[in-house]
C-alpha cells in the first residue's frame, strides 16, 4: 500500500503583489520503506512542499489538492486530530539548520522527552530512557542529554535532530536539507548515521536537498523540482543515468563526479524564475536549449513516461 500520495498539491503565498506560486500542482507517490529525494535549486518550492505535508505553512499560504497518508487526506483532518495522531507520531521531520531548530534555553534531552510525553503515555523516566537510547543510537552518548543546544557542535545538533525525529517511531521522516550547514566530514558522518538507521529501522524518508550526490547516496527515488513543479520523478538510478527532462540533464551535468572522467562542469544559463509571475507554459523554456514553439504556448502535462517514471516535457510527450 502506498504510504504517501500527493495529488495536485498547490501552495500559494498571498503577498501584497499577488500570489507566489511556491508549489504548483505537484503529484507523486511513495511506498513504505521508500526514500524519496526531492531535489532542485534554492527557492524551487522544496521546503514549501514539506511544510504543506506537515501543515506548518505560514498563515498567508493557501494549500489545495490532496495529501493522502495511508489513505487519509491530511488536509481534511481537524487541527487537533492532526496534531495528536500524525505529527511526530506518524510523520516527523529533521529541519534544516539544526542550530535554530533546537530551543536555545531548554535542555536537549527535555526537548526529546516532551515529544514522547506528548504522544505516548509513558512516565518521564521511561521517556528519558528512550531519549538516552536514541542518543546512543545516533552516536552522541546519553550523557549529553542535559546539555543546551549551544553546548553541542553542529554535527551533534544534527544528530540530536535525527534522534528527536525517531522519538515516536514515525512512519515517515521528512529531512529538510539535513546536512547543508555541516562541513564535509561531519556531513559524511551524519549521512552514515542516517543510512544505518534507514537499514536498521526500515525507515521511510523524504530527503529534501539541492545536493544531488547526497540524494544519490541516500534515496531510492528522486523527484526533481523546478519553479514549483516536479519536472521528473522516478527510480534513482533511472533518473540519474537516463534523465529525460532537459533540466534534470543540466542539473546532473552541473555536478562533479569523482569517479567519472574529468570534464568541464556545465552551468545552466539564466536565473530561476520569479514565482510571482513565472514564465507561461513550460516554466523552464527561457533556459531550455531545446525550447520549441509549443513550449512557449502550452504547459507540458505530467505523464508517466515509463513504469514509475514521470516527466513533464514536450520533448517526451511528443
Amino acid at each position: 500500500m502506498e504510504l504517501l500520495k500527493l495529488q495536485n498539491l498547490k501552495m500559494y503565498y498571498g503577498t501584497l503583489r499577488g500570489d507566489v506560486r511556491a508549489v504548483d500542482d505537484i503529484s507523486f507517490t511513495m511506498e513504505k520503506k521508500d526514500t524519496v529525494g526531492l531535489a532542485g535549486e534554492s527557492g524551487c518550492g522544496k521546503t514549501s512542499a514539506m511544510l504543506a505535508i506537515l501543515r506548518l505553512q505560514p498563515p498567508n499560504a493557501k494549500v489545495s489538492g490532496e495529501i493522502l497518508f495511508q489513505g487519509k487526506n491530511l488536509l481534511k483532518m481537524s487541527d487537533s486530530e492532526f496534531r495528536k495522531n500524525i505529527r511526530w507520531k506518524k510523520i516527523s521531520t529533521i529541519f534544516q539548520g539544526a542550530m535554530n531548530a533546537l530551543h536555545p534555553t531548554l535542555r536537549v534531552g527535555d526537548q526529546i522527552t516532551e515529544a514522547i510525553l506528548a504522544h505516548e503515555s509513558r512516565s518521564k523516566q521511561e521517556a528519558t530512557e528512550i531519549a538516552g537510547k536514541l542518543f546512543d543510537l545516533v552516536g552522541i552518548g546519553s550523557e549529553r542529554l542535559d546539555r543546551y543546544s549551544h553546548e553541542l557542535s553542529g554535527g551533534m545538533k544534527q544528530r540530536t535532530m535525527i534522534a528527536m525525529s525517531l522519538a515516536c517511531n514515525p512512519e515517515l521522516i521528512i529531512a529538510d536539507e539535513p546536512t547543508t550547514a555541516l562541513d564535509v566530514i561531519i556531513e559524511a558522518q551524519v549521512l552514515k548515521v542516517m543510512k544505518e538507521l534507514q537499514e536498521k529501522l526500515g525507515l521511510s524518508m523524504i530527503v529534501i536537498s539541492h545536493d544531488l550526490s547526497m540524494i544519490a547516496e541516500t534515496c531510492n527515488k528522486a523527484a526533481i523540482m523546478y519553479a514549483g513543479k516536479i519536472v521528473e520523478f522516478g527510480g534513482i538510478v533511472k533518473v540519474f543515468t537516463e534523465p529525460l527532462h532537459p533540466y534534470t540533464q543540466k542539473l546532473i551535468a552541473a555536478f562533479p563526479s569523482i569517479l567519472g572522467s574529468m570534464r568541464e562542469l556545465a552551468s545552466i544559463s539564466g536565473f530561476p524564475p520569479d514565482l510571482l509571475s513565472p514564465p507561461p507554459a513550460c516554466r523552464f523554456h527561457p533556459r531550455c536549449p531545446y525550447a520549441m514553439n509549443i513550449c512557449r504556448k502550452e504547459e507540458p502535462r505530467y505523464i508517466e513516461a515509463d513504469q514509475n517514471r514521470y516527466v513533464a516535457c514536450h520533448l517526451v510527450s511528443r
Binding site: L56, I86, R87, L102, H119
Partner: protein, 340 residues
Amino acid sequence: MGFREYLAKRIIVSFLVIFLVATLNFLIFIVYPADPTRYLLDPQLARTPGLVDVIRDQYGLNEPLHVKYVKYLGNMFSFGILPPHFGYSFQTHDFVANEMAWRMPLTILLLGLALVGNVIIGIPLGIFAASRRGTKTDVAVIGAGLFTYGVPTFFVQLLMILFFISFVYQTYGIKIFPAGGWISYPNPEGLINVMGDILWHMALPALTLVVAGFAGWALYTRNMLVDALTQDYVATARAKGLSERTILFKHAFKSIHPQVATLLTLSLPGLVTGAIITETIFGLEGVGKWYLSSLDRSNPDFPVVQAVLFVVATLVVVCNLVADLLYGVLDPRIRVGQRR
C-alpha cells in the same frame, strides 16, 4: 574571564560612572547664576553687616571650590547615612536625607503599584495577543500599544481627573477617588486606617499610570513573543505535535524571559519621570514633586536637586548592572555580561 573578575570590573566601571555623574552634578550648580543667600535671607536682614557671610558659612558656600568638591563627594557617596546627610535643604534647613526619607515611601508605593499593575495586565495581554496573531484581538493590542506610544501620560491623567474628579465627584457627588493629596484631612485614626487612606489616595494616580502604560508593555511583550514564535525551534515544537499552549508558554515565552527581565529592570529608572509628573498633578508629597519644586527658579534648593539626581544616577547604574547579571543567569547561551 571568570565571573568574579567580570563582576569586579563591572562594579568598578559602575563606580566610575556614578563618580562622573556626581561631578557633573556638582559642576552644573557652579554655573548656576543665582546666589542662594539672595532668597534665603529676608531682604531687610540681608542688609545687616556680616549676616550674609554667616549664612554662607553655615551652608559651606564660602569655602574654596576644591574643598567644596571633596566635601560634596563625601556627602554624596555616604548616601545620606553619615552627617551631613546630603547637606541642608535651603528651604526647610533640615537634612536633605531626612526630607527624602519620609517622601521616598510614598513614591515607591506609587511607582510600585503602577509597575505591578502594568506588568500583570500588560504581559498577559501581550501573550494573549501573540497567541492570536493576526486576529482582531491582536490588532486591537497593537493599536492600543501604538496609541500609548503617542499619548502623553499627563494627558491621560488630566482626562481621568476630569472624569473622576470634575464629573463624578464634584458634579455628581459620587466620591470614588479623593480629589487629590495623599492623606485625608483630618487624618484618620489608627495605623490600619491611615494605611488604607493612603492607598485610597494612591489608587487614582497609580490607575492613571497603568492606563497610560499597560498597552506599551503588552505591545512589547507581544512583539518579542511573535519574534520568538517565528523562530525555527517553534516550528520544531509545532511539528512535534505539542499543544499551542505548551508551545506558547514552554517554548516561546520561556525564550523571552531574559528580555522581559532585562526590560523590567531597565524600566525602573524611567519610572522617575512618571513620578515627577504624577505627583505634581495629584499633589502627592513624594520625591518627584519635591524635586520639581526644588527647581523653582525663584527659590531653588540645590542640595535637594543634587541628592535626588545622585540617587537616580545610582539607580540607573545599579539597574544596568543587575540587568546584565540577570540576563546571564536567565539565558544559558550567554555567559554573564554579554547582553545584546
